[in-house]
Amino acid sequence: MNSLILQTTTRYLLPLLLLFSIFLFGRGHNEPGGGFVAGLVAAAPFALYSIAFGAREARRVLRIDPRWFIGFGLLVALTAGLLGVLLGRPFFSGVWTYLVVPGLGPIDLGTPMLFDLGVYVGVFGVTLTIIFAMEEAD
């Protein structure tokens, strides 16, 4: 598909959508958002990119094979579940701490957020693995 409009738009949308996905991910615990939807939003510009420029170009921009994200996401999510076990609590117990950022006050940090990061990365990888594979099938 050689559409100048789509190609130009995609170039600008890519950073914007990525920023938006990070925003969605960051607010997910307290406002609508979260890892799943953020992963989809992050995958969308790359999907557009692969339609506009071809999967080969999209892979080049992404640099890493999306299949790696699937494994990495699952690993992160599993690690989040296991951290509680290391402290002698049941699998998937939430472990929380907080970080004091000057000017912002304390920010809660916990294994559920790490888990959400795993979901984010995993969903991103799953979506792009499927889309790229379909794009490349002849």
Partner: protein, 778 residues
């Protein structure tokens, strides 16, 4: 110490392939160091066991399951351990020469050591579940070793058969051991045996014993599972000598001996164990007469010997158990030797056909001597150990509960041993030399081949001559089997008692049958294929495959629409059936109390759905489906679930992108289904929609459980540090579910990737690629 002894075998298994390459010819000698060391260690542990204070080791493994790494080296365990390591050392040495130059020799040693360690585990385990783990490991290593020559189809088939039978029996055994452990309240064998007769009056006794017996019978090749053992002769001969004669096939016998103080002595035990043992014993003795292959001849006589052991355990008197333990030792010594001799003959002459062998004593004098000793022990001639064990078996039968019938079957087995011993251990070495070039010029093999059978033969002789000492030595083993301390007195001369007359009768009839072996063989070999349970097994396996293929062809026909139809129809049947019969369809009263905007949303979805199913263009159908999805998202949004709405919007958008990508590859839109099929699909679709409607209405009308949303709302911010309850549920409250879901997503993506990227680009692969054909048209 016991843990290290078992662990060392597994470590050796890991090192063996690399070491084999380095050591070359010396591999057998070097590898034999480990089993020899272990033999000395176990011999050193003997006095502790004899004093009634056996060495034990316990290490918790999975305490919740009652599974612990507990080992106990009492008399019976040590007798087995010594057989395993002692004969193991000889087999390791022998195997290096026998398979010299084989490129898989490293793998051979690896699995041999796995087996040795696992078998030691079976013998020494003091925990029922631990014993089972090692038991399965022996089946697995046996599978790998029978199939060692994996480029030959018969070896693969025999390996698979042995695995299926022993593995299937293993499943029964596991169930039986669990029942036994649950009934007794402990999985520790020593604790179980300490409870005395408690297990015999437990309500679980009958099922537990039945299942355990199936496990023991499959492993020890008892009727009707006996046929895998002769087929297992596809294994290299040292393996046949070790696993399929001296040790592994006796695991079932070991288990029966081990548990007989707790489980034996009942009428059920005596009838089943004794009956199966007697049947196997006679069957093996008769079928052996039909064989011309040295190894199969020995295998059938091993089946017969295992039957005799089982029968003696079934009789269960202290004298019978003593006879069983002594015979077990005698059999391991002479049968191991004869198998190794058969291997030498095969190695040096290139044939195992007894009709082509003869007069070999000139070429192989040392082997002839070793074979002669073992054969005389097997035939039960004094002063060899086999004579003593046979006398004990006859005495046990004479004093046993079975009367003349019991005595007769034991004598039949004894006669069978005489005939087989003469055919394997004597006939190939004496008599006329055949004209066959290879046989006539055969010569003595190297020391590493003849050393094993020679040592075993000398052991048969030594144990017979020094019977008194051996008696004291097997005493603790017999005590483990009877459950009470016993004194075993063994002697060559028991006086002119009935057993001696039976022995003379056995020898006389055996000699006659040996003289008439050719006509008997011809007669039996016509009968053998009919009697073989092997045929039943093959038929069963074939039937299983046929059923699997038929149901695969039906269910996995490659049409996605058929799969969807099946999934939806099954759901309708199961869920709908349950709903109507168990709960009934509910009807909440306020269901008609609809608002205007709800009508708009519902109308939007309905119109979109109608467009989707009537459209003649794929793109408009997909767009309409997307519109229906957006309508659902609007409902989410309206009722305060922005997360769901947002996700749904994104999913709908991505779905449309995916479909556009897929359309590119599809042929033109055509109607493939007949009017009849369409009518069927309409009915199924309406039923599915109706079911979902009924389900939702029922859920609203019948509050099965109190709602949990209040709880989540209350604790979400307080305990889970998040105000977005939906997200907190996803990542915290129900994080495990989410982990499962993203795992499924990952698997699905991998599957899509594999289908698209790795398919062989071959139009003949299957109906999947034959998209122009219709399921109704063909």
């Amino acid at each position: 110490m016991l843990l290290a002894a078992i662990g060392s075998g597994f470590v050796m298994a890991l090192l063996a392939p690399g070491l084999t390459r380095r050591l070359g010819r010396a591999a057998g000698w070097v590898f034999a160091i480990l089993p020899v060391t272990l033999t000395l260690l176990f011999a050193g542990a003997w006095s502790a066991a004899a004093d009634g204070a056996p060495i034990t080791t316990t290490l918790a493994w999975v305490p919740e399951l009652g599974l612990s790494l507990s080992f106990r080296a009492d008399g019976l365990s040590l007798l087995f351990a010594l057989l395993i390591t002692g004969i193991g050392a000889l087999v390791v040495l022998y195997g290096g020469s026998y398979l010299h130059g084989d490129r898989d020799l490293g793998r051979f040693y690896s699995w041999l050591f796995v087996f040795m360690a696992a078998m030691l585990g079976v013998a020494l385990a003091d925990n029922l579940l631990l014993l089972f783990v090692f038991w399965e490991l022996t089946s697995l290593s046996s599978y790998m070793l029978i199939g060692f020559g994996h480029d030959r189809a018969p070896a693969r088939q025999a390996a698979l058969q042995a695995l299926l039978i022993t593995g299937g029996g293993g499943l029964a055994l596991l169930a039986g051991l669990v029942l036994l452990g649950v009934g007794a309240g402990t999985f520790e064998i020593s604790a179980l045996l300490g409870q005395g007769a408690a297990a015999r009056i437990d309500p679980l006794y009958v099922p537990a014993v039945g299942l355990i017996l199936v496990g023991a019978f499959t492993k020890s090749a008892q009727f009707p599972f006996h046929f895998w053992l002769p087929n297992a002769m596809e294994a290299p001969t040292p393996i046949s000598a070790y696993l399929h004669s001296a040790t592994m096939v006796k695991a079932g016998v070991y288990l029966l001996l081990r548990l007989s103080p707790a489980l034996g002595g009942t009428e059920l035990w005596t009838l089943v164990v004794g009956g199966v043992g007697a049947t196997t014993m006679v069957l093996g003795a008769v079928l052996a007469l039909a064989q011309t292959d040295l190894k199969r001849l020995l295998a059938y006589s091993t089946v017969s010997a295992l039957g005799l052991l089982t029968l003696l355990i079934g009789i269960g008197t202290p004298r019978a158990l003593e006879a069983a333990v002594v015979f077990l030792l005698a059999h391991a010594l002479y049968k191991g030797a004869l198998f190794l001799v058969a291997g030498i003959l095969d190695h040096e002459t290139g044939t195992r056909d007894i009709t082509r062998l003869g007069g070999l004593w000139r070429g192989l004098p040392i082997t002839a001597a070793a074979a002669g000793g073992a054969a005389l022990s097997m035939a039960g001639l004094p002063p060899l150990f086999g004579f003593i064990s046979k006398e004990l078996a006859y005495e046990a039968a004479l004093a046993g509960p079975g009367g003349p019938a019991l005595i007769a079957v034991v004598v039949i087995a004894g006669i069978g041993f005489v005939v087989v011993a003469a055919q394997v251990g004597l006939a190939p070495f004496w008599g006329r030399r055949p004209t066959d070039e290879g046989v006539a010029h055969a010569h003595e093999p190297g020391v590493s081949l003849w050393l094993g059978p020679m040592i075993l033969s000398l052991a048969s002789l030594g144990a017979g001559v020094f019977a008194g000492a051996v008696g004291g030595w097997v005493g603790p083993a017999v005590a483990s089997a009877t459950g009470t301390p016993v004194t075993v007195r063994l002697a060559l001369w028991h006086g002119l008692n009935p057993a001696l007359w039976l022995s003379l009768l056995t020898l006389a009839v055996g000699g006659l049958l040996f003289a008439a072996r050719r006509p008997i063989r011809n007669g039996l070999s016509r009968l053998n294929p009919v009697l073989g349970a092997d045929l039943g097994f093959q038929a069963g396996l074939g039937g299983l495959n046929a059923v699997a293929q038929a149901q695969t062809r039906f269910f996995q026909n490659g049409y996605l629409r058929f799969y969807l139809l099946m999934v939806v129809a099954t759901t309708i049947l199961l869920v709908g059936g349950t709903l109507v019969s168990q709960i009934g369809v509910g009807w909440p009263l306020d269901v008609l109390d609809v608002q205007a905007h709800e009508v708009v949303f519902g109308g939007l979805i309905l119109v979109a759905a109608l467009v989707a199913i009537t459209s003649r263009s794929r793109l408009s159908a997909i767009a309409a489906l997307g519109a229906a999805g957006f309508g659902v998202s609007l409902i989410y949004l309206w009722y305060g679930a922005p997360d769901l709405a947002m996700t749904q919007f994104l999913i709908e958008s991505l779905t449309v992108i995916l479909f556009v990508l897929v359309f590119y590859h599809l042929p033109h839109f055509t109607r493939l289904s007949s009017p009849g099929a369409r009518a069927r699909d309409i009915v199924i679709a309406l039923l599915a929609g109706g079911l979902m409607t009924a389900l939702v209405l029922t859920v609203l009308a019948v509050p099965l459980f109190p709602s949990i949303s209040g709880y989540y709302g209350a604790v979400s911010a307080a305990e889970a540090h998040g105000r977005n309850v939906v997200n907190v549920i996803l990542v915290d409250f129900r994080g495990l579910d989410t982990l499962g879901e993203i795992t499924v997503l990952g698997i699905a993506a991998t599957g899509v990737y594999a289908l698209l990227k790795l398919h062989p680009r071959n139009p003949a692969v299957g109906p999947v690629y034959d998209s122009a054909r219709s399921e109704d048209g063909s």
